[in-house]
Symmetry: C2
Subunit: 207 residues, 2 copies
Amino acid sequence: MDIKNEQTTEQVILEVAERLFLEKGFALTSTTEIAKEVGCNQALIHYYFRTKENLFNVIFEKKFKMFFQGVFEKQNMGNIQFTDKLKFVIESHFDLLKNNPRIPTLILNELSRQPEQIKILREKLHEIPEQLFAELNTELQTEIANGRIRNISLIDLVTSMISLNVALFVMMPVVEKILPLSETQKEQMIAHRRLENVEFILKSLRP
Amino acid sequence: MDIKNEQTTEQVILEVAERLFLEKGFALTSTTEIAKEVGCNQALIHYYFRTKENLFNVIFEKKFKMFFQGVFEKQNMGNIQFTDKLKFVIESHFDLLKNNPRIPTLILNELSRQPEQIKILREKLHEIPEQLFAELNTELQTEIANGRIRNISLIDLVTSMISLNVALFVMMPVVEKILPLSETQKEQMIAHRRLENVEFILKSLRP
DNA sequence: CAAATAATTAATAGCTCTATTAAATTAAAT
DNA sequence: ATTTAATTTAATAGAGCTATTAATTATTTG
């Protein structure tokens, strides 16, 4: 067993498992396969994590928390205009997805296996109103009252933002299978949709 | 073996398999489980379809074609206004998803197993321009030229429509796990988003 | 009714997977 | 240097799954 670059075996296992679980999900990834890619005996996976489920949970929780923290994190945006603030939120959300394009699919497919995570997600959802959500909502209402934005609820606005951003990355693997794209083309497409999503949303909000 | 309501065993197998494959995907559905729910011997599944893969392909192809035909079908819309036509397209797409809420997830997760379907999808994509797409595009360009719609490409418009509509149904199972909804609440939510998606898109297109 | 065909089941081979155990090897500590 | 502890492997039990085969039951047909 060659431990590359000072990493412990446990870390290597985690890295390989993360990659495989994100690629293929829980069911299609075997501890046998993880071990083969790590270059160790299959029993070693169980020595460190006892069960495949445990190993998966470690990775799922990490990704899950990182992702939702990223989504709900209160950005320090100072006293800029609401539309600029919104633009920033949309772009941050988009970039988070771009850096973690497989997480939404992982959560959509595997959350059912994770009753523990559902509790955490519920709590997270209760935290938001007091944070970014309340602040944005106040501002949104002000903008609407002053006739600078058409009447829309924040929940609908956020739903549309999440839909537009998430859908791109969830559908991307299918798009790539249908019309094989070069890495450059793919990059261009993503960059274009980043602009487009912002514009689509902001244009829709005009009074 | 009780064949319910005049149905042949083969039909019952197809129905049960369809339900299970849509619920849990290919990997998590076993022929053993299908047989149990059908109420027959597991070998019978293989008697009719030889392999699990064959059975899956029958269902996948059916759902796949039905879904994309529905999406790309040229509607008979007469000589109505462009925005009304667009509204109709968005709503038809939404309703198709509402009636087949699990198909997007099936395709997103299992298309990789279906190289044959990818060819079909490619062909379908080449058919569109000559049909609905070309027609809509001409009209869209006219609307833009006449200043009735802001400048936007049809591909971006369609991408946003698909994103908004598909995302709702792909995310719905997660939403339901987080905040359990009554059937009525769920219906209301879907009805509301149907209106909201149309409005969001039409509002965004204003010049 | 008898023969032939179709539908169904029981049994099982052969895989792959998870998880455990005991043994072997390596590293750390005294 | 020897003991102790940590890491790793080999071997394997046990389960579930797919697919096949041969035998059995039901249905159709001449």
